[in-house]
Amino acid sequence: METKWREKARLMDGEAIRRALERIAHEVVERNAGVEDVVLVGVRRRGVPLAERLAGRIRAIEGRGVPVGVLDITLYRDDLTMLDHQPQVHQTDIPFLVTGKKVVLVDDVIFTGRTVRAALDAVMDLGRPASVQLAVMLDRGHRELPVRPDYVGKSVPTSRREVVEVRLTETDGEDGVVILEKI
């Protein structure tokens, strides 16, 4: 039987996401003293629209754009041998060299940190970046690896059993961050 989920709490609405992205855009520019050599790499799936929006905000602030790439980490996952069915592999599309660049990885949620580990390996296989930074919309805790985000939209302590969803207009038809529980 299919599990049914109910929205338990709404952590962020569209406005909150917009403001968080605006702040993160300023933080990226500040930390890197501009956007020279800065590139954004969105982690599929929801990191991609977030990276594109972030690039838009940075362009508005700095008056110049930053390149945006798309990273699929499926082949770098550490749980492939534990899954019954392999997840669909999607295209990695990074139309620039990462060597020497300040790479900002963008993802929707950081949880165990295993996705970030996979993304780091995937980026390193594409070249040797000057640095790698991490931006996430939501940090829900429960790290299993020693990684931490540099830019965070919102930090929320969650239960391990809860399901947290970042929803974006581009992928889900609406903007919001929600906690779901089983019913």
């Binding site: 499926t74 770098y76 534990m82 899954l83 069915h85 392999q86 669909q88 295209q91 390996d121 594409l126």
Partner: protein
Amino acid sequence: MLGKDLLGLEYMSRETIEKILDTAGPMREIMHRSIKKVPALRGRTVVTLFYEASTRTRVSFELAAKYLSCDTIGIASAASSVAKGESLKDTARTLAAMQPDIIVLRHPLAGAAALLAREVGAHVVNAGDGAHEHPTQALLDLFTVREKKGRIEGLKVAIVGDIAHSRVARSGIWGFSRLGARVFLAGPATLMPEAVEKTGAVVASLEEALQDADVVMMLRLQTERQKSGLLPSLNEYAVLFGLNRDRLGLARPDALVMHPGPMNRGVEITPEVADGPRSVIVEQVENGVAVRMAVLYLIAGGGSRHETLD
């Protein structure tokens, strides 16, 4: 989806075929990186066991495996040493004892891959079994056509040549038909298998097959299999069935010309056509690696191996 083994396309669902094709696209991107390696199959071992001569298929499988971080071992065997199924079984058991994860088999007898798959716990990928099937060749052909044409559904595909001896044709018929193409077969009557219409393909004259075709797939004339005087001469074959510019003119202006290789230039295809603007023969080779990466990943990337072991 994909089970323990990949033996052929005859019984493969459209959904599974499309999953393989969808996975091959991202795999091809990896081939264009300077570091051509992803860790998806790290620690897995692939044995390529080839009882027939092959360069491209074998290299293609081995590169595909290496790009996914597999360790690979190639075992070549002269065709003369294995005329009997018994010795294949013995080889299989010996190999299986060394715990490879995947065995890629090419064998001159139809059904050899299925036999091996029953004998060993490893995943078995059929790289050609006699005149039966060569599924990864058909998959790479499907991938190439789908990429160039944007679809398979509704296309007219002409497969021309030695249909009787061709596992490429057989897998191609199943694959293209399952994805909704209309398959026309043309070739000398002596090289046309009986009752091939039961597959749903249409047996036609060369002109009928080529007329308005979207895809023209020329088969290699398997000179090594022409023992019993089925053809008067190579020259006559070239005159009657070779693809030249005039004949290609019957096909649609944007028709793709394909060939599984290796080509007998001047026999089944003229150099002018083989190297011409509509030829996708070189892309087929590149796509072959990507499709085989997809197959290896989908067959062995998950954790189900130990469940299927006996």
